[in-house]
Symmetry: C2
Subunit: 244 residues, 2 copies
């Protein structure tokens, strides 16, 4: 399983993913699920993937190949050269459809699931911040002002804190904290989501991504996790009693 969350704020994009994959509980491995493509000052596009790892790696490889080919051939359309970020989401959807067409029937014949979802976020020079969720079928939705975040994978454990604190005018600092708390709740409740984490922050109009890998011994993440646990317990014990 996986947990990835993307937040679209007026101040920028915040993306966080875990790195655990598993084929059953006895076959656990680490794989990067976040991919960032950047041409500083021109365009940043980031992807986060959940679902069948063979499928999502196939989609990412196809998109990366197009990016490389587009460097030598202006006719090739890629995430980094296409006209808009909306069109980039379509390209991800088209790659998803192609890989599903190629692999899905064989995967399902083995009794395995071929479903996959991808969060794509980014900004191009002169454009707005955009945040999309692309489904197995290649169709997609975009985050708006009312719900400024999107999640894929094991999303339920970490949703309550986002619902409580994330608004479109939340600061990037607070959004990073909320994403980490949301991930922390998921890590505690679901074994199939695991450290390390990948964090990516794309401040509005900077057209530049700040990425960071958060390992198990990351001091600030540990502080957030411990401080949150202590605060929750304190908050819990200060709740009024219920008569029954």
């Amino acid at each position: 399983m996986t947990y990835c969350v993307g937040l679209k704020l007026k101040a920028g994009l915040v993306l966080l993913s875990d790195t655990r994959t598993n084929a059953g509980v006895d076959n656990i491995a680490r794989f990067r699920k976040m991919f960032v493509f950047e041409k500083t000052g021109e365009r940043v596009v980031a992807l986060m993937c959940a679902g069948n790892l063979g499928i999502t790696q196939g989609v990412v490889t196809m998109l990366e190949t197009a990016i490389k080919r587009a460097k030598g051939d202006p006719e090739v359309e890629s995430l980094m050269t296409c006209e808009t970020i909306y069109r980039a989401a379509q390209l991800v959807g088209e790659a998803m459809r192609e890989v599903q067409k190629r692999d899905r029937a064989e995967i399902e014949a083995q009794g395995a699931a071929a479903d996959a979802t991808i969060i794509m976020a980014g900004q191009r020079k002169g454009g707005e911040l955009r945040l999309f969720l692309i489904y197995t079928a290649g169709n997609f939705i975009e985050a708006g002002e009312d719900t400024p975040y999107l999640q894929i994978g094991e999303h339920k454990y970490g949703k309550p804190i986002l619902d409580r604190v994330i608004r479109t005018d939340t600061s990037i600092d607070d959004a990073v904290k909320a994403a980490l708390v949301s991930m922390d709740s998921t890590l505690r409740s679901n074994l199939s989501v695991g450290m390390p984490l990948d964090l990516c922050v794309i401040p509005v109009d900077e057209l530049k991504a700040k990425t960071q890998r958060i390992e198990n011994d990351h001091k600030e993440f540990r502080q957030i996790s411990d401080s949150w646990a202590a605060s929750l317990k304190q908050a819990f014990h200060s709740l009024p009693a219920v008569k029954f």
Copy 2:
């Protein structure tokens, strides 16, 4: 959908269920999902149901009918007359199998889901507190010391708080608060879980249930909900910042 949680503590059993059922989002209704059978001083058995409402009502009706028949006929085995609470869980499983056998194929032929789960908890005179989860297949598991709670229905949103505060030696007062906070998180994140709530407390060796319906305007529940929301926000804003 539904959310029900049962906690088995040294001090007693705490059970909480919502009352919302829906066939799609445009057909929402209230149905009781908690059923308590009591012979004070002798035995208490409580059920909470999730899943296909026709199936669970069928199971409960079958069990209630047996309880009534057993009053006039000592040969009839029922939840209130069977030898142990473990045997009572088997009776629930047998009723589930019978109703599934009767209805499942027809329900699935309509493209609907016939799955259902039931939490059964109770104590008989001379016995221990027991807490079981009965599955669609009629098999079941029992809560132990390591995981002293069981959930059915929309369980993920409300799991983190239980993981953080519930131990087998948690007091009944704290367990009631934790169950209400767990329900509150679920209500906020999932439309298909709704007020009012049914609360049942069965203190150890009292062989007597205290039940309470919690309506939307229930003062203490509102206080817990508001106090929790305020504490979470405060806890969140006092988290240390993360450099990136």
